[in-house]
Symmetry: D4
Subunit: 208 residues, 8 copies
């Protein structure tokens, strides 16, 4: 009767980053800019860290929406990048869907700007086609909290699971012993409080 537990598996997951464009980012007001930038880069870092196939796409990037933010372009030089000529729902673009299918993965981690359009539309379409959809909510932004709440509800009721980048990283990693250094670095770079814990710990450890 309840939604079953779909557990993220690093061999099954792909990341879709949808419309993180320089212009569109100025529309995001449900998350502070410093935090949002950090969340998006954290998701990108974890995609690389876990070697998840990643697909990038933009909407109408030769107009006011602006180009994909350069950091993402630089981090995924070899990832499929599909600048859509006009389709608002990325899933309406065949190249994008092909790129997603080509990853061979069933679990899709989706993030984008703005949440109720660039995330929700492909998420709903992917669910309809039988993919398991995990929305990375804190790497997705929109106009305000009212808009976000409406969008979350729509996706969630359609079967999507709402997660944040930290939860995704933890569910993919499973066990610290797989790579303490690597996961610690990811957290240190994107969670100031965690970085401070590490600094304090290693200092005392080292000094004594």
């Amino acid at each position: 009767m309840s939604k079953p537990y779909k557990r993220l598996d690093k061999t099954q997951a792909a990341v879709l980053m949808v419309d993180h464009q320089a212009g569109l980012l100025s529309l995001v007001r449900d998350i502070e800019p410093d935090r949002f930038k950090n969340n998006v880069l954290a998701l990108a870092d974890l995609a690389k860290y876990f070697k998840l196939p990643t697909v990038l796409t933009t909407s109408f990037e030769d107009g006011p929406n602006g180009p994909l933010v350069p950091e993402l372009k630089a981090m995924f030089p070899d990832a499929p990048f599909i600048p859509r000529p006009g389709q608002i729902n990325a899933w309406d673009n065949e190249d994008f869907v092909s790129a997603v299918r080509a990853t061979g993965k069933k679990q899709l981690l989706i993030a984008g700007v703005v949440t109720e359009v660039c995330v929700a539309f492909p998420a709903l379409a992917a669910l309809e086609e039988g993919f398991d959809v995990f929305v990375v909510t804190d790497a997705s932004g929109t106009f305000n909290e009212l808009t976000r709440d409406s969008a979350w509800r729509r996706m969630s009721e359609a079967g999507a699971q709402l997660m944040t980048w930290f939860g995704v990283a933890c569910e993919l990693h499973r066990d610290w012993r797989n790579d303490i250094e690597g996961l610690g670095t990811l957290f240190s770079n994107h969670i100031p409080d965690y970085r401070n814990l590490i600094t304090a710990y290693t200092t005392v450890k080292g000094v004594k």
Copy 2:
């Protein structure tokens, strides 16, 4: 097991604007007045832009609830306008239901004041009769957030999909190439940040 993805289709959708009256608007305190006015007019503009059949109605407008706001009256001179003599639920008024049915549309976009009554009651009734209901949450207002949250939950659990005007516009339009100018103008008129993107873009484009 999950709620299926109902995708808005401009050939299938009608807009119902319920009780946006000068008196009742002073009750709305879950959205700031400047933003709320903008959202309501944005929904009206998109209804016209996509040529969606639109039905207007008011509750007891010869009393303190006050008249329909003049902007809406002026924008839809030929739309069916049903001033209800007393029914609180617009769906209890036969003329209103007939007007809705006469549109021949299955997808109903509903907005109104106040959310838990003027929106929720006809939304629940329409769902019961098999319509697909999309609540335009940000063009609907009420007393406070507690009230709104209760209302959203009730409608959503009954099968309504919660959207905002921007999401509606994007889902109806499907592809920028259908009319770049038109959609851009709609956004420019109702999203200050988007207007600024366009201004900055066209200035640089033109100056260089």
Copy 3:
């Protein structure tokens, strides 16, 4: 697949006011005291206005929880009043359940303090026995918003419908023409903005 639309019917509804006691009220911090007092009295007024059978109960009122607030006692001198000797869930008290059953009503409007206990426990029990439960969320209070949100979710997922007193009044009344004066007075007494609309309207109407 969705929760069906249960529509409130004044011939089918009863009101349960659970533990609105002088001591317990000091625990309520998710709604401001002026507003909460107003909401509780509004619910009481509407119970009287629609002549809904009403059942009052208190928890351990000879201790720190304190007595039922005197206004409620005064408004319902003939209503069944069940001071529970110890049961925390009112539904565990046979006198209370008998009083509820004796109303002969199927639709239960429940409000109380605190939401996650005094409201949620009898609400869940009543749902289990087949009653239709409508929680009057804004006449129910608790420690903070986190607590409230948890409680709402639990009740709502068990089948309860979340409403506020204004929505309840409107759904019960159905049509202004049933009694314009009466409903207007109820709103004027409990919604300052509505009272102002009436004042402004009648002044202009009368002066001209």
Copy 4:
């Protein structure tokens, strides 16, 4: 011992609009975009309505800061417009100061983006030169509330008076009878609640 009451006088006042540029506006996050746009246009409208000399300036507008928003350019075609080649403090630009002095006014109404720089710097400089400075706080925006509060305190302690556009309009107008229609229109165009009051009033007045 206290700051003396400087009363705005429409024969003594000039308006300085500093750096309301398309790019810089995306930095404003202490006021919602819909409201901020409205406030800025309201200030511009009142400047025109009271025929106050107005000076416009921009900072480095050929770069990312972007052009002056077109609405302002269009509303003040004959006003001095000083695009500063580099000075961050407009008061460091001689053309700007000359334009201000040329107005012959002693009371300066200043608004701009961002508050702690584009508003505060010229405000402090003008105070030092003996002008009476009135900061129009709600037509001035910045990164967040912490930044705003710091800036307000600095200006206020230096002798500036903090006002909002509505207070400015009222203090300049002095008496409704000077022009009921004109002031009413200004308010109706920029205060949705006031517009609704007028709509409701005139409807009842006219219908009876």
Copy 5:
């Protein structure tokens, strides 16, 4: 060097209630309507309780601003009531100033709608003429918190003291023994938490 302590004295104080009109009240959004209504009535009640001379005034009440709220009219049938024909600053109306002077009091308690105009303007003017001004901040309302903060700062820097109705009542009363019953009733009627304390106390006291 600091602002001296002006202590309220019931033989020296008068109350000025400025523009609490049915229309204007819909503009108040910095305080919730239930609370604001309560605060205004609490101030009126304390004016009566301490027998402070009270002056009422309205701005342009035959238009959209609407009439003085009827409760105030009813509570002060014999108080001077000056409907101003057009002056926005009540202090520009000679009848109003005469009525204030006729009270023979030096300490003025001022409250009104909206704070930055109807309160601030007469407050600043009265300070200039040497009155001691006490703004009753919680019985004064305006558009939003940004506006309120600007207005408070302006008045406070000009020498006004900011108080709330409860502080005013306590400073005027000085000693519970002057009239325990009377002050207790005032608090019980306007502070729900205090009413509950009294209910709980007297119940235990009486029952034991």
Copy 6:
């Protein structure tokens, strides 16, 4: 069709406290530290009061995550305590699962830090194995409200019931008469408002 009412039963319930570690606690920012500390200790106290079998576990406690907070260690000297060598999901640790199974209980009360990982992962796993899961939301903390909301939704949709420690205590206790003193002490120690009620009550009771 709705989620059935699972009622907590003190003979059926066990408590799992997951990763309340000195380092990890500095990550919690969705609940204030004073309140969060109180909530965690309240849950521990109720576990002891109702003699519920309790299982403690930590994640990688020899690193920056830090040790289990000493209060918990001291309160449950004989409880199974499983410091996990690396598994992020406690349910992936066989010792932990064995300890849970060894309690012989079907109803699991889970709290931990951080909510979306240390609570959500074992909660989802336990649900899958047929346990009834009750998340103690206010004794669980995480980075911010966005993260919390995502996590609540995921667990709730999978079948977990969201409760707070106070609701848990009340549902387990059932009837004040089972032990007035004991429950009163629990509340007095962890709810300042309740403590004040008791103080006031017993004082009047005793003095009269």
Copy 7:
């Protein structure tokens, strides 16, 4: 020209705790109960730790205001305790003023409930008599933030310095080396985050 720097000196300071009574505490809603209780006890602990003479007083404690909270009574068995028979301003009570004078201290640390009355009135009176007044803002509570802000402004403009208990402790202590253990314990008992730092630090230190 600015307010001079008065530095707290443990040989010059006394603590006045005004009206922290069981009933009155239920009025405090500008600070959460868990935090407020902690702050008040932290102030009491620091008074004891630095051996500052402390004066306790209550207002009308045989009525609904309730008794002094027992913790304070227990912590200061030998301190002067002046239950005022009726004076609202503690400074109007000769015994209280005598007790303050008897401390021989010039620097008064004042905290109480409610801020704008029980704290502000004696603070203003003491300033007038030449004492240096330090308001411990976070151990003082009132109805809401609007009320608090008004009160802070009034006291601050009259010459009071606003501090919080942590700042007071640090300014009195001057140098950690005076007593590392003692100050650390004070912080550990009242700042959960600091306690965690100590736990983590000493654990690593000890284990290595």
Copy 8:
């Protein structure tokens, strides 16, 4: 009568960074961690960019307060760094004061953790000695907003000017033409919205 305009001058200014230590940072809860980290690093970057002499200090760094965050240590390898053995007020440490005096600067930019102690104490002491003090409010953090507001008021009334890092950078730079590239880089690295403006601008500029 007002506080005079002290204008920052890059030849006159020094930066004091007080107690930005890994442990103490976990106490900061009035600014989000992502933003706070960014603000602190932005201040450090601007100190380097404008070549301002910078003094670093820590409080008791061999205990739970933890070491200076490594980023700061790395950025200022040659700056005076004074780990204080115990003095809480850095100004009580002679080495620190000597280091400040050795800069030969009169304008001190101070930031630190926590605001009401590590910033306020040396700020007040420096003011007393005739320095011009500029508090960099957004690179200073503390427990909560109540604490911050008290601290701001105390420093501001003693003569300090409250600024934020962005305002500081702009006031020091004076004119974009002094170094467009340099200032742009500083903003791009620490203001995500500004970075997006630059990206969008240069993309259009370059592509056309």
